[in-house]
Symmetry: D2
Subunit: 162 residues, 4 copies
Amino acid sequence: MSLRIIATGGTFDKHYDPQTGQLTFRDSVLPAALQRARIAQDCVLEPLLALDSLDMDDRHRQQVLQACQRSPEDRIVIVHGTDTMGETAAVLGQARISKTIVLTGAMVPYLVDGSDAFFNLGFACAAARLVGHGVYIAMNGQLFDWDNVTKNHELGRFETLR
Amino acid sequence: MSLRIIATGGTFDKHYDPQTGQLTFRDSVLPAALQRARIAQDCVLEPLLALDSLDMDDRHRQQVLQACQRSPEDRIVIVHGTDTMGETAAVLGQARISKTIVLTGAMVPYLVDGSDAFFNLGFACAAARLVGHGVYIAMNGQLFDWDNVTKNHELGRFETLR
Amino acid sequence: MSLRIIATGGTFDKHYDPQTGQLTFRDSVLPAALQRARIAQDCVLEPLLALDSLDMDDRHRQQVLQACQRSPEDRIVIVHGTDTMGETAAVLGQARISKTIVLTGAMVPYLVDGSDAFFNLGFACAAARLVGHGVYIAMNGQLFDWDNVTKNHELGRFETLR
Amino acid sequence: MSLRIIATGGTFDKHYDPQTGQLTFRDSVLPAALQRARIAQDCVLEPLLALDSLDMDDRHRQQVLQACQRSPEDRIVIVHGTDTMGETAAVLGQARISKTIVLTGAMVPYLVDGSDAFFNLGFACAAARLVGHGVYIAMNGQLFDWDNVTKNHELGRFETLR
């Protein structure tokens, strides 16, 4: 049973650019991360977007939706920025796709000391394998339903709405 | 819903000792790993043993069993060496405890470049939260039942028996 | 023979702030870096400033100059941002202090994967111990005189002027 | 002015082998380390041996000596295990080669968390560029003459003999 991993960018995948001193996007870290996790042979990686999630608009969300719809694998992990992860999850959730879709991301980039990215990827991959159809957010060691989750920006954590 | 994390040592938790040039055990890496994963507040960490799993005997496995039995949390992750993870899982599985117990470990120590440990911990924490009562092994991105798993030593991977 | 290490910030010492998604300054990485280098007992660390070197003005450079002048150690390493390292070196060089002063920094922060910071620190510490009085810049494995060095921004390297 | 870097193995260059659980030698980390240090274009890397320095015998030391003698570059860094670094330095020192030769190594492998290797490499490269002909050991932020140095095994540090 293969898993599809869709990369869209976000903090998870940011690189440091020595010329500008900014965090930007280059080749995704995911091919190396999947090797290191020893799951590369069980995954199909789809590098779809490379964006800060604050720069995502409706058109980008439709691209993510279409990628999920056309995926031959019915278990999908989406690596996404945390700032608008909830919006993308809502677009996917309202589309009622008969697949298991888990969005995850990171509070600290994969390539920065102390990153939560690799743990979150592991958590999301397990959730995508183990839960039923639906759209979920996997962050800070918890799995949230797409319609009951919000990012607490002060604490840098995801929480249930109610 | 709290998770109990029981540390028993294993490759996951090995440190390099500059005096001997050997990999040994010191303070567990798990407190730092749980902070980094941003789940420390949702976990109870129990540092039970600090052993290479090849050095585990029946007495140690009884200690692990008792720790699971007395755990007030009914969702448990055990960090364990990979070489005898199956034996410990069998002892726990045959005891038919009404809890969800997930054993995990690492092929490369947490503190060594390219380690799978942090991903495996994330995968195991998700599994412990999401599956029903039983004893499982979470390695290389898959969840195995305790009575249908073996370590393929050549490939360094866990596989189903049948 | 003790070495004085003066921290002023710069790329070397930038941290990722999960709340803003920006690279900023927090506690310096230098205490941990000196421990890891096994030189903490032979160094005096002076945390003077915590600035992007583009934000340094004449007043800050006078602070750096005064720190060098009052230093009881006559061998000094200054950790500094690369963008205006040459300007600070010029202020120190023109002051003709009878000490050995070596400025260094990093193209990639110490806490980011692939950082040159720790190598540069080693290079600068050796230079500070081994060369005569004067003001120098130690970057990309070379030692430059303060009045014959420029940063090539396209290549991200320091070069001699002539 | 190019630097020759001669790799002989040692703790600096040890890799973790997931199959055996031991630290062994594979491809040297030095090509990646020189890139990261941004000095690859100014260095010639010679992968000569890949040995624990406790396994080095006279024959190996003659190989190191010959590599130094035939080197067209007269500034040489040798990456070497710490346990017999002094013996190799003595063989080279007694040969009275008209070159600058700096031996360095690490107390913790380059690929293990908290390694001193990259700092030591930077320190050794600076020393090789800055001091006169002779044979030296660069460890724990100090430069030692080959005939006045010993490894304090309890402290894990190099010290002068007198």
